[in-house]
Amino acid sequence: MAHVRVAIVSEPLDITAEIERVTTGRGDIGAVVTFTGLCRDEDGRLEALELEHYPGMAETEVTRIAEQAAKRWEISDVTVLHRHGKVKPGETIVLVVTASKHRHAAFESAEFIMDFLKTHAPFWKKEHTAAGAVAWVSAKSSDDDAEERWNTVD
């Protein structure tokens, strides 16, 4: 079973440290795939995103998704880190690191984790605009479609 590391944090995420944590002292890893989800400024309109989460369930649900990926693909390590609180444009919201002997397992498992995280992990984004307005971000049906494809393709 793969080593799974999940954390919901309020501090900036450090991708280099996370890759090193996975690969240091290991000779059996042939591929590391990372996904970084960033906060966009929406052409200057957005000042910050505020991420609300369900403490307790967020960790549980993200761990569940990571473990599902570890069962489905031969990966030796999976790391999922997610921010909560205020995030500024250019900052990282989510970081996924998967490691395996061969690249396909690392690529596919990282994508699977992101697709399920979008629809199942209890996080909600609120936009704070430069003009001072605040609004909850709506869920996208394209995210449901992205998740659905894992149920039909193997």
């Binding site: 989800g37 991420l51 609300e52 989460h53 369900y54 307790g56 369930m57 549980t60 649900e61 997610h82 919201i93 989510v94 992101m114 995280l117 979008k118 629809t119 199942h120 992990a121 209890p122 996080f123 909600w124 984004k125 609120k126 909850w136 971000v137 709506s138 869920a139």
Partner: protein, 83 residues
């Protein structure tokens, strides 16, 4: 039973959490949503579109027809937008 609300559900209801004992006959998530709507205008507004409400029972996602007997923590929230 502890109830937790998140995002715009929390804002519309006006509280993040509360402890309640639903009356007899409130057996499923659907029943609970219906009963909560009778508790005041804020609840009615927040839960006016039950299809837009996602539910977790003791940290597990659940459908609206799921029984709530024995559940300690119910969370109500809009579709998730993390990642």
């Amino acid at each position: 039973m502890k109830l937790l609300y998140f995002a715009w559900v929390r804002e519309r209801i006006g509280t993040a959490e509360e402890t309640i004992e639903p009356p007899r006959g409130v057996d499923t998530v659907d029943d609970l949503l219906g009963w909560l709507r009778t508790r005041g205008e804020a609840y009615d507004l927040a839960l006016a579109e039950p299809a837009a409400i996602r539910v977790a029972l003791d940290h597990d996602h659940a459908e609206h027809d799921t029984p709530i007997a024995g559940v300690r923590e119910v969370a109500l929230f809009p579709p998730m937008t993390g990642g």
